[in-house]
Amino acid sequence: MSTKPNFVGDLQALPTYAFGARSLTWWGVIAFMMIEGGGFALAGGAYLFLMSQESAWPPASYPPALVPGLLFTVTMLLSEIPNTILKKATEAQQLDKVRFWIIVLDLIGVILLVIRAFEFAHVNVRWSDNAYGSIVWALLLLHTIHILTEWVESIVLTALMFTGHGRLPRRFVDVSEDCLYWRFVWITWIPIFVLLYLVPRFV
């Protein structure tokens, strides 16, 4: 553009942030969900593939104990209530409300990790026993990594919301997209729960 530029418009009046699909962060989060969702789907596929090779499922043990699994699932589903409240609060940019509900979600994360430890303890198979044990541990571990990383991210965002950065609209966008990601984490749990706890009992 060595010649004199031909201006047809000015961008000065445009906003500097937006929530949802207008923001770049949202697309990044969606892309990572596709990657991780693909990973979950393939691991679930591997579970079914290995199951198709066996006459009994589990081959030589009891299915994972139902109580911790159910407890985890119920807690996880209920967490969407504070999650929705938090997401709405970020979009309304209500700082005090955001600070309160993000702490609630941090605590729910702790509760979930504790229940998850019980799930591991009552999974009734070791990863090294057979391929069934390996894939059960893999699915549970894969999902636990998501809970854990999401929890660490949530703690970091909590700290951020209590500093001066918390007042900046872009940080509200960050928390809002984090709420979106939390939905992904609990939605992906549902098929894993079905595979680990219900399929061995009812299929």
């Binding site: 000065q12 500097t16 207008r22 770049l24 593939f49 893999a138």
Partner: protein, 641 residues
């Protein structure tokens, strides 16, 4: 002259343009000089240049391995290389070419060109981009150091179990391979996310979906293919390393595991992988054809549809790599049909390029030579592909040199020839100088001739029954002369590539000065300096057609900030201006995070506890990376409690 108010917002526009604007924007977007600036940079062009140079180094290394194999096979019963070393060499050749050269170099061209072609100041998530490069570099160095220490992979580039399992691959060789996968796939996935973000949200105003350059379309489809396919190989290699390290039983048939599970997961990635390499190649061809035919590529909607169709079908034919494993009959029929169907979108594109050339008077510059070399070679590779999509023939030819010939025709013909054409074509944009014409043509002739001498011959070697991956063969099988010809061809091919490199070196110093748009091309990357300034465009261009630079003028927008890194987000479909988005500054944290991640990955080859302890420094590095350093939002005062 008064001191400017530090809080005043400077913007580009009629009051600030030309040299004054250039100085301001260079200050804002440029890197600090010296090593620190070099390590901290997040400029997509600098990162892409590193990616390209590194990938070309790996191409050379992989090429040297190929020459070693050809030397060994030049005569029967050669004792040059031992069987064990030969296993490592062919495994490293495939691994290097697929994971360290082909995919990274194609993505790197995307990283360099896409932001320029869509008319934006920077790539989306530029720090992730820097992180991705470091991770790729460290992973590549790791596997090559392991190879030189005699702990390189030994079970082929696809590491089939049980050959790669704990029983038949003792030691750490396969573990290094499995972690190389983790390194390169994380890097590739990160780049895919950046490219998707850039293409969907950062296009210049007016660049509606139906005005996106075909190269950018090809990169978009490729990025989605990376996103959907690479988790499969990452999952598979994690299962493999845990079978080897903590005694899981995923692939152990005696404990309910399955070797076919590996093959399904690997080829669910591995087949799309071929198209991940090949679709950007098609994008190069479209860009070059358009420029040298001086008209838009014939039937743009069909071209886009063909790219998308190829991307979708690529996920429906992985099983054709497994015809010899004994699958259900219906599976055979389905995957044969899918494998033949994918020839259709490829054929559509070939005919569209021919129609484009037919309807114009193409200028036969060097990049066009590569286009023609591509069309000839790729059509042959495509035809042998249709042949081996047929199960009876595939069972006969499986694991012979016919297959080696076939996939080198598709990968070199469909990937490397377009790449060398692209290097010639965009070299002036990247360096400011033209690549030498005479050496370019000589290099093409040697490369093209050497290639066909090597690999056309292999069709016959394969038909005569020579299996792949054998380190030697007895005399008197009738393979001697064919193998010798292939070896001679390989050295001719290598000479061609060497001349190409020589041409680059000479042209970097003495090539003709290129100017902004030496080829008279139509897409936006040619609207800015060669090489581009750190900020890409002084003003954000506005697009009114598929070929913006062939219009009378290139309109543009004013009003982005110049003393902060700011770029424009547009709407996903219509590309209407929507948001002024800050772009991250240079940072050393991506490098630190990559180092911490490298520690984690390499440590976990030796101990499963690395996953626990090694993730702590990685997490700390990532948190420090994300923690905002600058309290002020652009245009806002810092808010302090």
């Amino acid at each position: 002259m008064t001191e400017p108010d530090p809080r005043a917002e400077l913007r580009d526009g009629p009051e600030l343009m030309g040299d004054a604007l250039d100085a301001r924007l260079s200050e804002t977007w440029g890197d600090k000089p010296g090593l620190i600036g070099w390590l901290r940079t997040v400029d997509h062009k600098r990162v892409a240049n590193r990616y390209i140079v590194t990938a070309l180094v790996f191409l050379a290394l992989g090429g040297v391995l190929a020459l070693l194999m050809r030397l060994q096979l030049a005569q029967p019963e050669s004792g040059l290389i031992s069987a064990d070393r030969y296993n490592q060499i062919f495994s490293m050749h495939g691994t290097t070419m697929m994971f360290l050269f082909a995919v990274p170099v194609m993505e790197a061209f995307g990283v360099y060109l896409v932001p320029l072609m869509v008319g934006t100041r920077a790539i989306a998530f530029p720090r992730l981009n820097a992180f991705s490069y470091w991770l790729y570099l460290f992973g590549g160095i790791m596997i090559w150091v392991a190879f030189l220490l005699d702990i390189g992979p030994e079970a082929g580039w696809f590491s089939y179990v049980p050959l790669s399992g704990p029983q038949f691959s003792a030691g750490k060789r396969t573990d290094f391979w499995a972690q190389m996968i983790t390194f390169t796939e994380v890097a590739a996935l990160a780049v895919a996310v950046e490219l998707v973000g850039t293409i969907i949200k950062q296009r210049a105003p007016g660049m509606r979906l139906d005005r996106i350059p075909l190269f950018v379309w090809s990169i978009l489809v490729t990025a989605f293919m990376v996103i959907f396919s690479m988790p499969a190989v990452t999952l598979a290699s994690s299962m493999l390393i845990s079978d080897r390290l903590v005694a899981t039983q995923f692939f152990n048939a005696t404990e309910g595991g399955s070797a076919l599970l590996w093959q399904h997961l690997f080829w669910f990635f591995g087949h799309p992988e071929v198209y991940i390499i090949f679709l950007p190649g098609l994008g190069f061809i479209s860009a070059i054809t358009e420029t040298f035919c001086k008209r838009p590529v014939f039937a743009y909607p069909l071209m886009v549809a063909a790219l998308v169709t190829t991307g979708l079908l690529a996920f429906g034919l992985w099983v054709h790599h497994m015809f010899a494993t004994g699958l259900p009959r219906l599976g055979y029929a389905f995957y044969t049909a899918a494998s033949m169907a994918i020839a259709l979108p490829s054929g559509v594109q070939i005919f569209c390029w021919i129609a484009t050339m037919w309807d114009s008077r193409p200028r036969l510059e060097v990049p066009m030579w590569w286009v023609i070399g591509f069309i000839i070679t790729f059509v042959i590779g495509g035809l042998t592909g249709v042949m081996i999509a047929s199960v009876p023939l595939d069972l006969e030819l499986h694991d012979t040199y016919f297959i080696v010939a076939h996939f080198h025709y598709t990968l070199i013909g469909g990937g490397v020839f377009p790449l060398l054409g692209a290097l010639t074509y965009w070299f002036p944009k990247m360096t400011g100088r033209m690549l030498g014409n005479r050496l370019g043509k000589i290099s093409f002739l040697f490369t093209f001739g050497g290639f066909h001498l090597t690999f056309m011959t292999m069709h016959f070697t394969g038909l005569m029954g020579m299996p792949r991956r054998v380190y030697t063969y007895p005399a008197g099988m009738g393979w001697d002369m064919l193998n010798l010809i292939s070896t001679i061809g390989a050295f001719v091919l290598a000479l061609g590539v060497l001349i190409f490199v020589l041409n680059i070196v000479l042209s970097l110093r003495g090539g003709a000065i290129a100017g902004d748009n030496p080829w008279g091309a139509a897409s936006l990357e040619w609207a800015t300096h060669s090489p581009p300034r750190p900020y890409n465009f002084a003003h954000i261009p506005a697009v009114t057609s598929n070929t913006p630079l062939w219009e009378e003028t290139l309109p543009c927008f004013s009003g982005l900030r110049v003393e902060e890194r700011e770029l424009l987000l547009t709407t996903a479909v219509e590309a209407e201006p929507d948001i002024r988005e800050p772009s991250p500054k240079p940072s050393v944290w991506p490098l630190v995070a990559a180092l911490a991640t490298t520690l984690l990955f390499i440590w976990s080859i030796f101990s499963p506890w690395a996953v626990v302890w090694g993730s702590i420094p990685a997490a700390i590095a990532l948190i420090l990376w994300f923690w905002p350093k600058d309290p002020a939002e652009p245009g806002k005062e810092p808010v302090i409690e």
